[in-house]
Symmetry: C2
Subunit: 187 residues, 2 copies
């Protein structure tokens, strides 16, 4: 997963992977029938893990609270452990159409869970969003964006970054008292 993340699926050879784990290329085929299946399994396990993590998150109470906990779950699963890794959505394009479809199903489960929180917050008046689908897409790009730049041991601790993201995402969906509420959205 680390090699695919760093260089991209097509740029990584089975020989490189083999060298990384200390075997010869042929030995890899004892563990995967081919390179494509290896990619699919990695992406699939990752997506499944994120969905599993959600099941253990506390998604009760107000929409604001549920949103906060969704973000926490996302952070904890993807960046929590010492050997946490993440292959960006970009690698989905390297899947065969059949495998891509299978992953789309999982991806939709995850993103729909987020969208439902946004919809509920909108309906209850807690959130000020005028398009739940669009807002969800924005939040997903925010959540995935952090995975592409955050590296442990940098200027900011993971807790600090998580707290910042919870705040900025909260503000993005909250319109209470926002002075620009009246101003024209476009020129």
């Amino acid at each position: 997963m680390r090699l695919f993340t760093e260089h991209g699926f097509a740029a990584v050879s089975m020989r490189q992977i083999a060298a990384e784990v200390g075997v010869q290329a042929g030995a890899l085929y004892l563990y995967t029938p081919n390179k494509q299946t290896l990619l699919f399994n990695l992406l699939s396990e990752q997506m499944q893990g994120a969905i599993e993590a959600l099941k253990h998150a506390d998604l009760t109470g107000s929409a604001a609270r549920r949103l906060d906990n969704f973000v926490r779950s996302h952070f904890q699963f993807h960046m929590g452990g010492p050997d946490a890794a993440f292959m960006p959505y970009t690698e989905l394009r390297n899947l065969t159409p059949a495998n891509y479809e299978k992953l789309e199903v999982m991806r939709r489960i995850y993103e729909d869970a987020l969208e439902q929180i946004i919809i509920d917050g909108h309906d209850s008046g807690e959130f000020d969003v005028d398009d739940s689908k669009l807002t969800t897409l924005v939040l997903i790009s925010i959540l995935n964006g952090v995975l592409s730049w955050y590296r442990p041991g940098g200027r900011l601790s993971l807790d600090r970054v998580e707290a910042h993201y919870i705040e900025i995402i909260g503000k993005a969906v909250c319109g209470f008292g926002y002075e620009g509420a009246e101003r024209p959205a476009a020129e």
Copy 2:
């Protein structure tokens, strides 16, 4: 650029590119010394274009106004024309270290322009952000995120999406009256 965006640099062969433009593979080498230079030139022109577009944007007045116009410039350059294309940041990993460094310089110019707006808005009290660098990173992921999902002819017009992004980004940096300002950021 379209092929690299769709499949990734390493997954696209010179033969595919040649077929796309209607020549044989060898003929491509009349236009580029090699594949790596082709990638670098495409990414470099794209980055340079975004910086040029900024120069024509109106970045005067309040920080909020400058931020709105930065977002407009980003949208107009990357998604404006009929043949607008965009290679995601992901492709930067396929550059040689020397080429990567050159692009980093350009990328920093662009992102620093955004960060300066955030810093100024923070200093003037217009924005409620506690870490300008981190906020800039979030805004960049939002701005680049739209490029990965937006396709002309979809449910929402470009103007509509642009307006939505201007609003949500405005809210993300504005803290006026945000009821959660007091609540603990992390559990």
